[in-house]
């Protein structure tokens, strides 16, 4: 019995599963492509890690600096106020306090010799 099939059916049946063995070099080429891509990926990750580390170092440095500044300020605040004018000489913004110290120094003399009140 003659079996007649048209082109489409023949190709459909036969063509989908056609196998051809690739050459031995094909895998090697594929593998080196994969290796190159993986190396590239690692470089990207390394760059991210390096940036993150640099940021961390920067943040740590700023934090340490501000902590030491705070300590310095606290030390100033905790210290007993200077009693003598000489201690204050050349300190920025000391004028009001200098006046206070001067006044304190002269007060005992003032009370000893009060100025006559004007009527």
């Amino acid at each position: 019995m003659k079996t007649e099939k048209n082109i489409s059916t023949l190709f459909q049946k036969g063509a989908e599963r056609i196998s051809v063995q690739p050459s031995g070099q094909a895998w090697q080429r594929l593998e080196s492509r994969l290796e190159k891509e993986e190396r590239r990926g690692r470089v990207v990750v390394m760059r991210w890690v390096a940036s993150a580390a640099a940021m961390l170092v920067l943040v740590a440095a700023i934090w340490l600096w501000s902590a030491s500044m705070q300590q310095h300020n606290f030390a100033i605040l905790d210290a007993a106020p200077p009693q003598n004018l000489e201690d204050l000489e050349n300190v920025d913004g000391c004028e009001p306090y200098c006046l206070v110290l001067k006044a304190r120094a002269e007060l005992p003399a003032y009370y000893a010799n009060p100025v006559e009140k004007r009527n």
């Binding site: 003659k2 079996t3 007649e4 099939k5 048209n6 082109i7 489409s8 023949l10 190709f11 459909q12 049946k13 036969g14 063509a15 989908e16 599963r17 056609i18 196998s19 051809v20 063995q21 690739p22 050459s23 094909a26 895998w27 080429r29 594929l30 593998e31 492509r33 994969l34 891509e37 993986e38």
Partner: protein, 179 residues
């Protein structure tokens, strides 16, 4: 190793698993490439590039649909890109796609794989691509039009012309056999 285990290992970039996957699927996929591309070296270039994409994009395969089908689609895309890059698509003028074309039955029971490849090799790349996509891969004309960047009517015309050409080639090559 089950297919799922193999896929998971490849997702973790395990080289042995990648090799296994390649060994398992490369002969069929090379067959696919050879159907679209006549030159074996170029076909192999496409195979390597295609599998590179498969192995680097395997994270995107989520079990939806057959794995082999997923691979096949990537490989076919790669083959078509290659043909587009080398400007292999020259389309004959559109014929009226609504012409009644009846295929003359060929008196053959089956064609051997080698003969199929030889016949395909003798077709121009444009016809060959449309013929493969429609007849073998089962794409619809709309999908073919999208893939190849042509109109649906062009796809239909090309298919008719391709089938006619194939008929001629079959008759020429194989003669008429009584089975």
């Amino acid at each position: 190793m089950t297919e799922k285990d193999l896929i998971d290992a490849c997702k973790r970039k395990n080289r042995q698993a990648q090799r296994l996957l390649y060994d398992r699927f490369s002969p069929v996929m090379m067959g696919v490439c050879r159907r679209y591309i006549k030159d074996p070296m170029e076909a192999e270039d496409v195979l390597v590039e295609g599998f590179f994409k498969v192995l680097t994009k395997i994270g995107m395969y989520n079990g939806d649909g057959s794995f082999e089908g997923w691979i096949r689609r990537i490989i076919i895309n790669e083959a078509l890109m290659h043909l587009r890059k080398n400007n292999q698509f020259k389309y004959a003028e559109e014929i009226n796609p609504n012409l009644d074309y009846t295929e003359e039955p060929t008196v053959l029971d089956e064609i051997a794989a080698e003969e199929i490849l030889n016949l395909l090799d003798e077709m121009p790349p444009g016809y060959r691509a449309v013929f493969n996509l429609y007849v073998v891969e089962g794409y619809k004309h709309r999908e073919i039009a999208d893939e190849l960047g042509i109109s649906i009517n062009t796809s239909k015309s090309q298919l008719i012309l391709a089938k006619q050409r194939m008929e001629e080639l079959v008759k020429k090559r194989l003669g008429r056999h009584e089975i």
